[in-house]
């Protein structure tokens, strides 16, 4: 293309001062944002994530607020009001009006128990305890367990995985064997031992989770690290003489964020279910304490006759999970540097 191209004369125009001013006004000059600010901005644009954040905030406030204000005492026993179904004032739909089917007939359980003037919006359990208060109480316990598990995932799991994957070689081999051993020793042995040494209850469960839950995260992060460290931008960073710690935080971590966040979204329900399964076996949280898991477990046993005792905790758990996941998706999009606008 060495030929000279002939352009018409009016293709170009000389710039004058006015034009220069106009150009300046078109200049895109967003304030320089840090990584976190940028992520926050992107997160706020995601409607699903934003709504989830609000839902979670409400759940947290209600669950932890019930320490101070609760509709009823979650442990107050009143056997004559046992197994009353949901009754929400002003709603006449079956399932929310205090009636239930007993021996083929729909009866007003509240009238039968002599509690016509009372309202239990989620009903009561077999000891006549207010289910709504117990769900709030259970949510609090489950959230604490979930958050502790997440904390260990994010600290031990991520660090361990990044280190193992980054170093490779002999260190990696040894670290992976350690994980294999931890994975191989049945969780149940660990928890039963802890129950013996300590006491059955929250502390034992939390320590058991702390000891065992982070392995999956570590393995995921290691696998992803092995993939990423071979890529050009890491090579570039290394060639430029970046310190490994800085590479880890600046380059690895953001690129690992999607895996980390997604796995966290599984850590939360897994921790909650681990506790629920323990209570199914019978070594979970000691009564009369409750978690969403124990409530589901109790409800499951009476599902044929008192379905609401399972539906309510299941509904609350699902809402929490949905919110955590949608928020997780939002966070992933916000933190992942590869996300396109």
């Amino acid at each position: 293309m060495a030929d000279t191209v002939k352009l018409p004369e009016d293709s170009f125009k000389r710039i004058n001062a006015d034009d220069r001013a106009a150009l300046d006004s078109e200049k895109i000059a967003a304030p320089s944002l840090t990584f976190a600010q940028d992520a926050w901005r992107r997160l706020r644009k995601n409607k699903g994530a934003w709504v989830s954040l609000i839902v979670l905030a409400i759940v947290f406030i209600m669950a932890f607020g019930s320490l101070v204000v609760s509709p009823h005492n979650p442990n107050a026993v009143n056997p004559s009001y046992a197994n009353l179904p949901s009754k929400i004032p002003g709603i006449g739909i079956n399932g929310f009006n205090g009636t239930l089917v007993q021996a083929g007939q729909r009866i007003d359980a509240y009238k039968q128990a002599g509690a016509s003037s009372k309202f239990y919006i989620m009903g009561t359990d077999y000891l006549g305890r207010d289910l709504f208060s117990r769900v709030l109480y259970g949510t609090r316990i489950s959230l604490i367990i979930a958050l502790v598990a997440t904390l260990f995932d994010l600290t031990i799991g991520v660090t361990y995985g990044m280190f193992s994957g980054w170093k490779g070689g002999r260190i990696d081999t040894i670290m992976q064997r350690i994980i294999e051993i931890i994975l191989s020793i049945p969780n149940l042995v660990v928890i039963v031992l802890l129950i013996l040494i300590l006491k059955p209850g929250m502390t034992s469960i939390i320590i058991a989770i702390a000891l065992t839950s982070w392995t999956n995260m570590a393995r995921l992060v290691r696998a992803q690290t092995m993939e990423i460290k071979e890529q050009e931008y890491i090579l570039a960073a290394r060639t430029l003489g970046e310190r490994p710690l800085k590479i880890a935080f600046k380059h690895l971590l953001p690129n690992l964020s999607s895996v980390i966040i997604i796995n966290t979204m599984f850590t939360i329900p897994n921790a909650i279910f681990f506790e629920a399964t323990l209570s199914y076996i019978g070594i979970g949280i000691s009564s009369p304490q409750a978690s969403l898991g124990t409530l589901l477990n109790d409800g499951q046993k009476n599902f044929q006759f008192l379905p609401y005792q399972m539906w309510w905790p299941a509904l609350v758990l699902s809402i929490i999970m949905l919110a955590f996941n949608l928020l997780g998706d939002g966070l992933r999009d916000a933190f992942d540097p590869r996300t396109k606008e």
């Binding site: 064997r177 994975l183 149940l188 999970m321």
Partner: protein
């Protein structure tokens, strides 16, 4: 590669040995004996029963004897089924657990990959939203709740499947569905997330630009590169599911190994717990080895043998 394999198999044996040792001594810390009514037995009777089970010897001797036996495939006698050797107990009950676990894994992972891939391809459409919600519900309902729901509605109300017990394939449908929810949800989530990343990367743009068909791009490039986290997660999950879920087996009355496992831990039935731990640990180590090899096949950029630095 052969050298690498040999090395890994050596490590596998080493890991197994450490796990057996650790579990053995941890179990010894637990209370529990083969005695069912200790208080009514005289000292000499207790001594005799202990002798029968070899519990009269010091712990380190019990350990060595156990190792010697285990190498020859003799795992001792179960405390729960007092006359049955552990090897028989395990071999006669592990079949149903393996079958249901395997079916659940296959179903869960395949459906999960499809759901996840569709979600990623139609990102932020209603398909994606539905896929997301379904997979989130899959992980937000514990398996015992799902099992009860399936049993009540599909078994009792509609009568499509047997409520419980163990017979032909038809008996495995409900337990498979109940167990499959977790692998389904996890695979769907991981595949979707990874694929969204991969689909926006340059080499996919290039493949598209080269005029490769949509399915070709998805299958050859996007899917393959999305599988790394999935492989990592699926291995241990499969071993977990295949070695028996007490909850699902109890609810569907499946003659599997799940409850024996739980009971043996709670009663310090160490011959049974050790037998199960060895099987579990062996399967796990093998699966993890395969996982590492698969990394290399799926993503040639990962070097398993070499050193990075």
């Amino acid at each position: 590669m052969a050298k690498y394999l040999a090395k890994r198999i050596f490590y596998l044996i080493l890991t197994l040995f450490i796990v057996i040792t650790l579990t053995f001594f941890l179990m010894k810390l637990l209370p529990g004996t083969p005695l069912t009514n200790q208080a009514k037995l005289s000292k000499s009777q207790i001594a005799l029963i202990y002798e029968q089970y070899g519990l009269n010897k010091p712990v380190w001797q019990q350990y060595l004897l156990y190792l010697a036996g285990a190498v020859r495939g003799n795992f001792g006698t179960s405390f729960q089924f007092s006359d049955q050797p552990v090897s028989y107990l395990l071999s006669s009950r592990i079949g149903p657990s393996l079958q249901i676990g395997l079916q659940a894994m296959i179903l869960g992972v395949i459906v999960g990959i499809v759901v996840g891939a569709f979600g990623a391809m139609r990102q932020n459409s209603w398909v994606d939203t539905t896929a997301t919600v379904v997979s989130i519900l899959g992980i937000s309902i514990p398996s015992f709740v799902l099992a009860v729901l399936l049993q009540y509605y599909l078994g009792l109300k509609l009568g499509w499947f047997p409520i419980a017990e163990w017979g032909g394939f038809i008996y495995t449908v409900l337990p498979t569905l109940a167990l499959g929810a977790t692998p389904l949800a996890e695979s769907a989530r991981f595949v979707r997330t990874e694929m969204v990343d991969v689909l926006s990367s340059d080499y996919i743009e290039l493949a598209k630009a080269k005029g490769l068909s949509r399915t070709g791009v998805i299958y050859h490039h996007a899917l393959r590169n999305s599988l790394i986290p999935l492989i990592t997660i699926v291995g241990p999950l499969a071993v977990n599911i295949m070695t028996g879920s007490m909850v699902v087996e109890n609810i569907f009355s499946i003659p599997g190994i799940g409850e024996q496992f739980v009971k043996s831990v709670l009663t310090n039935d160490y011959p049974t717990i050790m037998g199960l731990t060895i099987i579990y640990s062996f399967m796990l180590c093998v699966v993890l080895l395969f996982t590492d090899i698969l990394y290399g096949i799926v993503d040639p950029r990962i070097r398993i043998t070499g050193k990075a630095n």
